[in-house]
Amino acid sequence: MSIMSGVFLLFLAAAVAVYYLTPKKVRWLVLLAASAVFYLSASVKAGAYLLLTIAVTYAAARVLGALLERERAALAVPGAPAAQLRRRGLRRRRLVLAGALVLNFGTLAVLKYLDSWLASAQRLLGLTAPRLGLLLPLGISFYIFQTSGYLMDVYRGKIKPERNLLKYALFTAWFPQMVQGPINRYDKLAPQLFAGNDFDPDGVKYGLQLILWGMLKKMLIADKLAPGVNAVFADPTAYTGAITGLAAVLYSIQLYCDFSGGVDLVRGASRLFGVDMAENFNRPYFAVSIDDFWRRWHISLGEWMKDYLFYPLALSKPLNRLGKRLRGVFGRRAGQLFVPCVSTVLVFLAVGLWQGPGFGNIAYGLWNGGLMSLGMICAPACARLRAALRLRDDSKLLRIFRSLRTFALVAIGRCFSQAPTFRLGVWMLAHTVAAFGPKDPALLVSFGIGSVDWIVALTALAVVFAVSLAGERGVSVRAWLDRRHPVLQFAVVFLAVLIIVAGLSEGYVPISYVYENI
């Protein structure tokens, strides 16, 4: 079932009702049952892949936990050869972890990339063979990352492995996170899932508000812009530069409203059960730099990458040795920057690949990683320039400029991965500059978005912008609304629900979430 459907909302309402009517001790079983119903209603076959991942990671974590226990017990014996024991323990754990991760990411790679790689190979060799047409299970990129993070936490001894297989299955398959994340951490999520939460009016209210907000963003902005954006990206050569440029900007807006709208919806859904899932967005388009942007966009993925890829890389011995050697050749600063820059580029390469196969995604990763490294390298020069221009760091104008620049850089990067081919993405950007003038101004309103849709989307966008701007200034519109007259509060909720009911019932064909197929 699509989460943008009346069926899902009814399912959700029923699950919430059953949850709070069930004795506290077994409430987590209600969550598990709801998750099973949700996931299997999408595809039973996908459920088999999910079960495989649950089984593999559950077992691996239990083994890792046992190894750690044994290691600790051995170390506790007085006079034991500590260094030797630690080394041996580490080696064993590494072996288990590596095996599990290879299995985990191997499943992802086969299901997600194999077809595309085979196709490329066939193209290169001039062969034709049928595509495998493997099923890409719903949410696989998300639950693979979540379970891998869990394994690494167990490996590091940060958490104890879950002993109850069913509880572990719930942690992995908690239905709100299965469409497009966020990627949750065991230590944060699991206790809330298993606790048997009390009915908390504030939390439920917040959950409902999040659901409304997320659905409206998706319906009124993302889905209205999608047809036009898709048309231009499908064949940019058919449009003038002004349109391709506009499409690049609109795509970033669409993507934000689609992705964050979807995550708001599922975080809201989760909140109805008293379960707080990880934050994923923090008004990313107000970011003042690429570095800042990635702390505000898809936060749960960024944090995952930081903890499980960036730090291991940055602290790894080979890289640091190389950095030290370079320090001798190119000077202290170059040597210092080497490790973080290389790690950053590698991390974003992974982010690009996580998005999907194809060179466009690799380019997207390199673009972001490269820009971030460039930012680190140029930071002192930029500071000097600002000083020379007598620009204060808190200057409003500078702030706006930096936000717009960041937005532009992000939008440019997305052209690489969103266009049918990387080359076409680059062409599109060049075309925007080289052939900007619209040959026919009417094209501006006729490239797939009707005039009514424009009005709806822009009005909704203005509201989202205003709410975000207020948030950026520390004003919560939610809290503000809470203090208004009840009639106004009722009117706002009524209007929001009306728009959703009017648009969402029988006959509405939901547009898939952009990140649903990742």
Binding site: G6, P201, D202, V204, K205, L208, D482, P486, Q489, F490, V493, F494, V497, L498, I500, V501, A502, G503, L504, S505, E506, G507, Y508
Partner: protein
């Protein structure tokens, strides 16, 4: 507001929102399920979902109909009013696009249970053996729960709580509604048929032009296939037949005409099996393969035969002498005759020879005749006589409008090389100079006087002197000779601006700039009615067989209005396509080309016009 209060308020807001949506959908009713309380716009509702809106229409008009046509969009071409005449019944065409034989069975059951039914005409074709039980999943194709027997509550709720998009579209479409059908209102609710006035007035004589305009609509894969649902189709027909027999209902089963490309796409074995099976169940009329199949002009597209072909089919069944029907069109098949019939059907492919059912007809246009013409636009009597002699010598026969119409609608005869001689405006010289020459040679001609200027020498109202026009006495004399017919050049829609005072001068039949469609239609209809009344009074003639468009100007709307006004022939001044009259296709009489002839026209030029 405290969170607890908020949580009480929330379900109230949801309930109110759901109620609001339901109310909006019920009041606007884009599918015609709730009786369309505000708009009463069933041509729109039936377009959105013919199954549901038609059931509701019947419910609202229970006494108006006692006989029904069942079928998919092909059956749209059967005219209920024609059948009413044959069977003394009140037919409703219950066809629905994309319908299949399961729908027909359910619908028969529903009709017999709820209405007093005298006749059912059941149309079957290739499509009925290709699709079975499809379409229930879309809003546009879902059948009414009263017909399928599903839960009425769930059905009603579904449509009340459907996305408001459908209702909003209806609200937005309303101001764009026009006289002619658009994509959103293609049905005639009173009879249930498609509103095909536009395609039924399109000029279709020139085969090459027709095939190029509609190339995409006739493109069809030629791969030969088996029909997958013959058994389901036959089982449904058996049930329908049994139900009708028990209820004493007259069931007429018709197998519809197919275009040759469509016919050829199905294997002979499939075609035989279907027909043999059908004959075991019921007698039927088979129109599928005939000479009509070979000419695309009898079809709107590869899947749909024209209304004219439907008219001919019904005329064959009821032996109507007033309608032309090709000899090989339609066979009555029974259990006893089916084997012989099928052997003949597959061993003797149909033939269609153009000379048997079409005529190319050049039309000449004259205006004023004058001794020693001042300009070459006027023709001297000597030139006119020379023209007449020339065409007679070359074997051309001047024909009348009546003969043209007779050829097309009743299959009357036309000479091998017909020609139509016409005079526009109704000048006195037509009577004084041309009529004697016509009498001398016994040649037929048509004169199109402007109604308001008959018998006038001065321009109406403003009294400017103008070329004299003959009067009704002269008109009567010419008509009684049997050589001259009077057509319409409009009553007063060929005004001459220099002689007019005031604004809104109508030089031709087209709308004035800025004129609303409503005002225009009223003006055009009033003009036609005025002339009809005068010609009935003066000549005892019922309307006109033809109208020559002033200055040759016309548009689709004017064509449709004249068609509705029972004017079968229209003439323009275009010269870019030949006139081809086709038996059985009244639209081949429309927007005919006419070649202007003047004093400077040489014999060679005239022969070129004639196509000699």
């Amino acid at each position: 507001m405290s969170s607890k209060k908020w949580l009480v308020m929330f379900p109230c807001a949801v309930a109110l929102a759901v109620l609001t949506v339901a109310l909006f959908n019920i009041l606007v009713d884009p599918f015609g399920i709730f009786g369309d309380p505000i708009y009463d716009w069933y041509s729109y509702d039936e377009t959105n979902n013919p199954r549901i809106a038609k059931v509701r229409w019947l419910e609202d008009h229970p006494e108006d109909y006692d006989s029904f046509i069942l079928g998919s969009s092909s059956a749209a071409s059967y005219d209920p009013e024609q059948l009413n005449g044959y069977l003394d019944a009140s037919f409703y065409n219950l066809f629905a696009y994309g319908a299949d034989t399961k729908d027909y069975r359910d619908m028969t059951k529903y009709l017999l249970e709820n209405y007093r039914v005298k006749n059912i005409v059941l149309n079957l074709g290739i499509n009925e053996c290709f699709n079975y039980d499809v379409g229930e999943d879309t809003m546009n194709n879902r059948m009414h729960a009263k017909v399928t027997g599903g839960s009425l509550l769930a059905f009603t709720l579904k449509f009340a709580l459907t996305t408001t998009q459908n209702s909003i579209e209806k609200v937005l479409s309303r101001p764009r509604d026009t006289e002619l059908p658009q994509a959103f209102d293609v049905f005639v609710p009173e009879t249930g048929v498609y509103d095909k006035r536009v395609r039924d007035t399109e000029p279709i004589g020139d085969l090459a032009a027709y095939e190029s305009i509609y190339a995409a609509d006739f493109a069809f894969s030629t791969a030969v296939r088996e029909m997958p649902h013959i058994d389901e189709c036959l089982a449904s027909v058996r049930e329908i037949s049994d139900m009708c027999r028990k209820a004493g209902v007259n069931l007429i089963v018709v197998v519809n005409p197919e275009y040759i490309a469509r016919w050829n796409s199905v294997s002979e074995a499939s075609m035989r099996r279907f027909r043999e099976g059908l004959a075991q169940i019921t007698d039927y009329w088979d129109f599928a393969l005939s000479s009509l199949s070979l000419d695309s002009r009898y079809y709107y597209d590869v899947d749909h035969f024209r209304n004219a072909a439907g008219t001919m089919a019904m005329a064959r069944i009821f032996s109507d002498p007033e309608v032309y029907v090709p000899e090989d069109y339609g066979a009555f098949v029974t259990e006893e005759t089916v084997d012989a019939y099928l052997d003949r059907l597959f061993s003797e492919p149909p033939q269609a020879r153009m000379e048997d059912y079409t005529r190319t007809l050049p039309i000449l246009m004259y205006h004023h005749l004058e001794e020693d013409p001042a300009t070459s636009a006027n023709v001297s009597p000597e030139t006119f006589e020379a023209h007449l002699k020339l065409l007679l010598e070359h074997g051309y026969t001047p024909v009348s409008l009546r003969e043209m119409e007779d050829f097309v609608t009743r299959g009357g005869e036309l000479p091998e090389k017909p020609v139509l001689i016409t005079f526009d405006d109704g000048y006195e010289s037509n009577y004084e100079l041309a009529f004697p020459i016509l009498q001398k040679y016994g040649a037929k001609a048509v004169i199109f006087p402007i109604g308001v200027s008959v018998g006038k020498t001065l321009y109406k109202d403003t009294d400017y002197v103008m070329t004299p026009h003959f009067g009704f006495d002269e008109m009567r004399e010419m008509v009684s000779s049997g050589l001259v017919e009077i057509g319409s050049h409009t009553w007063d829609m060929h005004q001459w601006p220099p002689f007019e005072s005031g604004d809104g001068v109508r030089e031709n039949i087209l709308p004035l700039s800025g004129e609303s469609e409503e005002d225009y239609l009223a003006a055009l209809r009033a003009d036609l009615a005025q002339y009809d009344a005068v010609i009935r009074r003066e000549l005892g003639q019922e309307g006109f067989l033809a109208l020559a468009y002033p200055s040759g100007q016309y548009n689709t709307l004017s064509e449709v209005v004249l068609y509705e006004n029972a004017i079968p022939i229209t003439l323009t001044v275009r010269t870019d396509r030949p006139n081809v009259l086709i038996r059985g296709l009244p639209q081949s009489l429309r927007a005919l080309s006419r070649w202007s002839v003047d004093n400077a026209t040489t014999p060679e030029e005239l022969l070129k016009i004639l196509g000699a």
